[in-house]
């Protein structure tokens, strides 16, 4: 029931928010997001001790053998927690901003939250697909309506891209569904089926492309920088912090256990793509002058690593990926928060025109430094744990892939430090010397991020233990040879 509540709270409040004006919409959405957070924390505690109590099953479409089947395993609880943590942070960060038609803006954000939590909780393939799309639609509207001047075509590209991918996945789901003996969509039935290896081989691609587009993995990534650049920053936070995790989540929940042989056949290809993507995106990030695009490409690189680690598919890499899903979410949201503040203050995106922010807005600068360092996986920040485990896991799979991928940690340092240098260091210019430092709300939100960064960086145990069960599940399913 708790799980259902997690979906229902943002869904219902989101719908109500549509009817509200300015302050009311803000307040309600904030309230709702906090309520969700409270539930998510409780759910997290339960997921650690008694995950079966979070399972909720109700009839949905009996003709199809589809049920409203939601539940939370370790990974699901973790991602729900991430979602639940992120939204209040996002709302607090933008609390001072005035958006056109705030009711719709906050309403759509809450709806996307409902969709995201739905994706992370669904244990029924059809339900999963429904939520998968449901999360996309509000984001599409948010980006198009409140985005930059090129937002409409860019977001549309994003939409069609992901839509095409998910339809391919739908084909795969339908195929597997028709093969299950009792015609069921339940996750259990899907994992129990195990089609022949030829079938798994091509089914793999139907699923993989959908997930790869969402993540995004090279070469399916070209929607991403444009979309991140053009979206309003709160939406970019949702996109990069949480939505990309849908792809990773999808692979772990719906690809690895369902098509282990397909994965076994193609894992090398997937890893190669991911590794290419890591280096490729890192290189492009080096020559970006636009702050948002730089972060976008850095995100592609990070996601590439996560995808490689997933397909390396051993205990370490899987633990690492899951932990990193959370941590990357927190870090990138923190990064976007700061970008949002900078944008809000300066209204420029080109890093060449910035500089010297540290002199006039030291708190902002410190926050940016910390979050950037977490982003390049400095030890004792949360980014380190995941990356360490992922690289290690990848290394166990294939040392050369890991060695090539690991070059990214150098490249990451190059572009992140360049970014820091250009944005906050140096002499202030006429524009940046007017930069106001963080305001209370912003400071609060960013402080939360920073605290999480350090707490999980020093003591990742709770997170690691939480996702243990999922890793065990995947590994148990995955080593079919």
């Amino acid at each position: 029931m708790l799980t259902v509540l997690l979906i229902l709270i943002p869904l219902i409040t989101g719908l109500i928010t549509f009817g509200l004006k300015g302050a009311g919409a803000k307040a309600l959405s904030l309230l709702s997001s906090f309520a969700t957070l409270v539930i998510a924390v409780i759910a997290w505690q339960q997921a650690a001790t008694a995950p079966e109590t979070l399972q909720f099953v109700a009839e949905w479409i009996p003709q199809l053998g589809s049920q409203f089947n939601v539940g939370l395993d370790g990974m699901g609880a973790m991602l729900c927690l991430l979602t639940a943590v992120s939204f209040p942070l996002i709302f607090i960060t933008v609390y001072g901003r005035e958006y056109d038609r705030p009711g719709a803006f906050y309403g759509l954000l809450l709806l996307s939250q409902a969709g995201l939590i739905g994706v992370f909780t669904a244990y029924d393939a059809l339900l999963f697909y429904v939520f998968w799309e449901l999360a996309l639609i509000p984001v599409y509207f948010l980006c198009s309506m409140w985005g930059g001047e090129r937002a409409i075509p860019v977001t549309f590209k994003f939409f069609v891209y992901t839509f095409a991918g998910s339809l391919l996945m739908l084909t795969g789901i339908i195929y597997i569904y028709t093969q299950t003996p009792e015609h069921s969509f339940s996750w259990t039935a899907f994992t129990a089926l195990q089609p022949g290896s030829t079938e798994q081989s091509w089914l793999f691609w139907l699923f993989f492309v959908a997930f790869a587009i969402k993540m995004p993995v090279f070469p399916f990534h070209t929607w991403q920088p444009d979309t991140y650049e053009q979206s309003p920053t709160p939406v970019t936070m949702v996109l990069s912090g949480i939505m990309v995790k849908m792809g990773l989540f999808g692979v772990i929940r719906w690809l690895l256990p369902v098509l282990p042989q397909g994965v076994y056949i193609w894992q090398e290809a997937a890893i190669v793509l991911s590794v290419i993507g890591i280096i490729y995106a890192s290189c492009i990030a080096i020559v970006q002058t636009d702050l948002k695009r730089l972060i976008a490409y850095s995100s592609i690189a990070h996601i590439g690593l996560m995808s490689a680690a997933i397909f390396a598919n051993n205990e370490q890499s899987m633990q690492g990926v899951q932990v990193q899903m959370f941590n990357h979410g927190i870090n990138i949201i923190g990064l976007w928060m700061i970008v949002e503040v900078i944008q809000n203050r300066l209204n420029i995106k080109n890093m060449q025109e910035m500089g010297g922010i540290a002199t006039h807005a030291p708190k902002l600068a410190i926050a940016l430094v910390i979050v950037s360092l977490a982003n390049i996986a400095l030890p004792l920040t949360n980014g380190f744990i995941g990356e360490f485990l992922m690289f290690s896991g990848l290394f166990q799979y294939n040392a050369w892939f890991a060695a090539i991928a690991a070059v990214a940690i150098i490249l990451a340092a190059v572009y992140m430090l360049n970014m820091l240098q250009k944005v906050i260091f140096g002499e202030a210019n006429a524009l940046t010397s007017t930069t106001a430092d963080l305001k209370t709300g912003e400071l609060l939100a960013i402080s939360v991020v920073i605290v999480i960064i350090f707490v999980l960086g020093v003591y990742p145990k709770p997170l690691l233990e939480l996702v243990d069960s999922t890793t065990a599940m995947v590994n148990a399913a995955a080593w079919v040879k």
Binding site: K157, V287, Q288, F391, S392, F425
Partner: protein, 628 residues
Amino acid sequence: MIHLVWLVPFLPLLGFLINGLGRKYLPKSLTGVVGSGSVLAAFVISLLIFFEVRQPGFTPQVVTLFDFINVGSLHIPFAFQVDQLSALFLLIITGVGSLIHIYSTSYMHEESNEGFARYFAYLNLFVFSMLILVLGANYVMMFIGWEGVGLCSYLLIGFWFRNINFNKAANKAFIMNRIGDLGFLLGIFLMIQQFGSVTFSEVFEKVPALGEGSIILFAIAMLLFVGAMGKSAQVPLYTWLPDAMAGPTPVSALIHAATMVTAGIYMVARSNVLYSLAPYIQAIIAIVGVVTALLAASIALKQNDIKKVLAYSTVSQLGYMFLALGTGAYTAAVFHVMTHAFFKALLFLGSGSVIHAMGGEQDIRKMGGLKKWMPVTNITFLIGCLAIAGIPGLSGFFSKDEILANAFGYNKVIYALALIGALMTAFYMFRLYYITFSGKFRGTHEQEHHLHESPAAITLPLIILAVLSVIGGYVGLPEVFGAPHLLHEYLSPVLVSEHPHHLDHTLEWGLMGLSTVLVIVMIFIARGKFSRYEDTGAENTGIAKVLENKWYVDELYDAIIVKPLLVLSRFFRDGIERSGIDALVNGVGRGVKWGGGRIRLLQNGQVGFYIFAMVIGMIVLFVISLFL
């Protein structure tokens, strides 16, 4: 006492937090007390630990704080290891660290309140990281400290962040360190793969099973050594260190001379079990060491920035330490770390005193005759120079002599090269000394008017370090002196694989004499050339110009690494991303539109054509279904 070891890193961390968070509110005095006091307190605890460790029969102890990473069979606890090696490094770090903190309270006094606190916060954070590095009971802990010190180095080099060039230097330092870190990290992964553990005790236990000369062992050793190359500024990853002089001078003394850069030596010494089983890697280390020593020394000959000279000298000395490691003389390396910490910190702090007096001027051509105004600095700096040059009786002599002796036993050619390096060391150090302190003052009148001896907070550490530079060598007297090698005895439980090359006594005396004589000759040449130095402003030519431009290594790196990387990245961005993938994606969209545009022409509005098309379609479909 051992169980309180966590206090040692924790106190500087506390200092960091207090100074960092309260940087706007705390007065400078309090900041200074917190900053220095925390390190001093850590030093006291370290001393107590040291005395405990020194007890005979002490076995290494591991203090586990909590589980850091637990994944399946891989356990990486957040644990500290207290043994002879780490205790010694604790002493060096906290000892030299507290002196430099005290020194800084005066040196950095002109900074704003906030800057001052920020400086101390960074410095404390550095000490914390460095302590984690040496205290860690496994390679991951070491790596945490390893990257942590890199971060602090980055922050402190770029301390004056308004200067873009300083920031670039900081970036360079961090990135080069990261290249090394990559090697380290891969080494750790390989260890995890091979041993399923990164804890020192377990790894060293399992290493011998691989057998001497195992390729895996080579790989691990080499990868770790790549890490050491980055951190300890060895060829080819040394160019960041001279640039790192952009930071405040006490930072150069602490980080870029006494402690952080020796982390590589610590690591190799710590892994001596591993390295002793990988002789080829040892050879590589020795060669890298001696090449670095020579190259850096040669560059130092022609530098005019007081800190740059010292920086290259540091690189060069680090080369010696690696040479020692390569020859298997781990104690000698650690010994040199210690003595080098004393005299190089002394030299840097002395140069800081000079720079302070000169109002920020660092070019030695603009100095001269400073001994008149700065007697204490002069004397202590001279002691430092003598120590580094290897004048018998001072600390540098003993440590360097041990290295040279081992090198001789290892390989005569390497010995010869090392000796040449040592001679160059003497030459450039005294070039520096004479140009700076002798002759007549060449700066502006304003500067001359301003010249003064530094306050006690600066001179006191100088004096203490000068004393240490003199007596520090007596813990490791050469065998020929007949006295026990205290350091060797102390470290032997840790450096179990040490196999120093023992020379016969006559030969050792001979070598000692040879180097001493040559060094003195060098000093006199330098004195003759530079004691009445005049700045002619003449351009250097030939080899001198090459040396002045540091063998053009920076330019070389720029040409073979940085530029190609940028070209590649731009190609990715413009060639593949925009005109490749994105164009393809957009092309699909355009293709659909284009196709739509063509297909719709079929719809030409003529009903006759429509029926015709229908009939054709029927015929085609008929043929397909009936006859195919």
